[in-house]
């Protein structure tokens, strides 16, 4: 019993001894080493320790259980080689269609652009026309205002004259009235005086009466003369007014004459336009390939004899055959019908424009 114990003890002792020895050895060798070596040994052992730790820790952690996905059944269908072709064909067709659509779109876009431009041009034209119309309107309005002013001024002068006449008349009336009143007063006074002095001064009153009668007469005569003078004045003024009226009438007649002349001028112009149009129409061989809406505009210059001095294209139709047919027609007329009145000719026919267009109805 003690043997095992002793054995144990000796084993233990030897163990201790061994470890002691080992320790000593290690210590010895340890201090033999350089400091740097020591350091590196410490580091490496630390590192190794960590690795070992990590590994053990890792092993001890629970492994994740990944669920295994069920394999899907693959449904395979047998495709005929020809259908692949058709598929390809379809693809090609689709591509073609796409391309066509893209082209279409492009074309549509281009068309849009062109349409937009057309619209813009049309709008510009409209604007121009409107501006011109406005200008015309303004000029006319001005004219009208001027005429109105003149008429207003005249009216004023007339009313002034009238007022003067009226005033005179009124003054007149007042004067007459005043006189009448005075007269009345005097009569009254005299009568009273006479009543007083009747007995005393009958003769004197008789004489006075006679004198007064005379005086009245004289006054009456004076008044008559004055009235006559006034009448004459009035008549004179009447005459003047009538003269004025006449003058106005003459003036309006003259204006009407001028207007009529202008209308006659326009009629002449229209007549010659119609003559020229019919001559050109008979000479114009419209090309058979003409498209609806094609228009070319020419400018013509004529001599007073009606002969053509120059014809040129100021706005082409885009089709040279069409343009040429118009120019040929214009140049084929050896003498254009023109008015003999030089003023009208210079104003309208020395230079004018002519448009040729093809309209399909």
């Amino acid at each position: 019993m003690s043997d095992p114990k002793a054995k144990q003890q000796t084993a233990g002792q030897s163990k201790i001894k061994a470890t002691q020895a080992a320790k000593n050895l290690v210590q010895k060798s340890w201090y033999k080493l350089d400091k740097s070596y020591r350091r590196s040994i410490i580091y490496t052992s630390l590192l190794h320790g960590m690795v070992v730790l990590a590994l053990t820790v890792g092993w001890q952690s629970k492994p994740e259980v990944k669920p295994i996905a069920m394999p899907r059944h693959i449904n395979a269908t047998v495709i005929d080689a020809s259908t692949i072709d058709t598929l390809n064909k379809k693809k090609l067709e689709q591509e073609k269609k796409k391309k066509a659509a893209v082209d279409k779109k492009k074309k549509a876009a281009e068309k849009k652009k062109r349409d937009a431009k057309k619209k813009r041009d049309a709008r510009k034209k409209k604007e121009l026309k409107r501006k011109q119309a406005e200008k015309k309107k303004k000029a006319e309005a001005k004219k009208k205002a001027l005429a109105k002013k003149k008429a207003a001024e005249k009216k004023k002068a007339d009313t002034q004259k009238k007022a003067l006449i009226k005033k005179e008349k009124e003054k007149e009336k007042e004067r007459a009235k005043k006189k009448k009143d005075e007269q009345k007063k005097r009569d009254e006074k005299k009568r009273l005086d006479e009543k007083k002095r009747l007995d005393e001064k009958k003769k004197a009153s008789e004489k006075k009466r006679l004198d007064e009668l005379k005086r009245l007469k004289q006054e009456q005569q004076l008044q008559d003369m004055m009235l006559k003078a006034e009448n004459d004045e009035r008549l004179e003024r009447e005459a003047e007014r009538l003269q004025e009226q006449n003058r106005i009438e003459q003036e309006t007649l003259r204006q009407a004459q001028i207007k009529a002349d202008r209308v006659a001028e326009m009629n002449e112009v229209d007549r010659f336009i119609a003559l020229i149009r019919s001559k050109i129409t008979r000479s114009w061989h419209k090309p058979q390939g003409a498209k609806n809406g094609q228009t070319v505009v020419l400018r013509l210059n004529l001599f007073p004899t009606g002969e053509l001095s120059n014809a040129s294209i100021i706005k082409g139709s885009g089709d040279s055959v069409f343009d040429r047919s118009a120019l040929s027609a214009a140049k084929s007329i050896s003498r254009y019908p023109v008015p003999s009145d030089n003023n009208i000719f210079e104003k309208h026919f020395r230079q004018f424009s002519m448009s040729f267009s093809h309209q399909e109805d």
Partner: protein, 437 residues
Amino acid sequence: MQKNIVLTYILSAVLLLTSRVSIAELMIEITQGSDSAVPIAIVPFTNKSAGAIPENINKIISGDLQRSGEFEPLPTNRMLSLPSSAKAVYYRDWRLLKQNYLLIGSVEYSKYTKSYKIQYELFDVNQQQRIIGEEVSGGEKSLRDLAHHISDAVYEAVTGVRGAFSTKIAYITLQGSPAAKAKLEYRLQVADADGRRSFTLLKTSEPIISPSWSPDGKKLAYVSFESGRPAIYTQVIKSGRRTLVSSFKGLNGAPAWSPDGKKLALTLSKDGNAEIYRLDLATKKLERYTRHYGIDTEASWSPDGHSVVFTSDRSGSPQVYRMNIYDLEPERLTFEGRYNARPRFSEDGDSLFFVHQSNGSFNIATMNLKTGNQITLTETPLDESPSLAPNDRMLIYSTQRGRKGVLAVVSVDGRSKYFLPSAFGDVREPAWSPFLR
């Protein structure tokens, strides 16, 4: 003093300017032109060679231009001068004669090349300028072709439309009389558009009908009864080589070439009654286009190849129908009168030409497809088989003159009408070729 002068200048300038602006320039509008033909002087071409030229070049040209109805050639005896070159042209001469155009030229034969050289120039008399000019050459056999080429060039320069004087017509002649039981001879003929230089493609004692040109102008398809019943053949014009393309039981009729030249629309009754089918010439596959117990026949193609027009009596009497080849839904087009048949498209696809019965007589009518407006073009009582020139300006059809069948050509504007000469008896079934290269 100087200052005053300057001032007056400025003032007058201002006045002038303002006076200019205040006058509005007169604008005359022309919307109508002349209905008469364009006067043109075609001077006899100068012969620069020793011998005579086998063809009268300017007679061919003035014949072409006059028959179009759009030109009025000046008779040679009214010409004041006969210039052969540009420097000999006095415009005043031609203005006096009221000519709009002047054509001059020369012909020269070369023994070394054995060919003719033709040079020509076209002048606008009113504008006093040359419009076109060219030099063309060819052998004796092509003299007429060269002349027709010049007609085409002049026509296009003046009207803006391509000339059709170098095209051909196919037609059928009959000698002998079926009723009199005399010996019968049917011929399929091809001639120039002016009726000259005709040659025979087929000669049989049984009827030939419905000639149809291939779009490249190299072949004709037609129906022949030589086997005792109607069958459809195609024939190459140059070599004469024939191919039998359809001989089913019953009818084989009305062949019409598609615009791409690969298919024929035709009439078969193998499935019970007359229906329209499409035959692919390469694969010989048939596709059925109509399904109706009525008669469906006389199909022809639109220029874009997407639709066909045909005759059908499904409404009780023959009328013109149209259907596009993708959905095959027929749409009736004619509603005037109780007989409208054998429709043909114009090259621009805008109009149809067909046979229309009114008041007992059969005439050629045309319909504008955009407006539906229909007008009758001819007045003779038994008119048939209208065919348009490829520039859509002339129409050829068969009619009766005296007791004979003849071909009549009218300009679509109605100004010109003439009859084509025939060497062999009764003429019928004309077909105008496409433009030939």
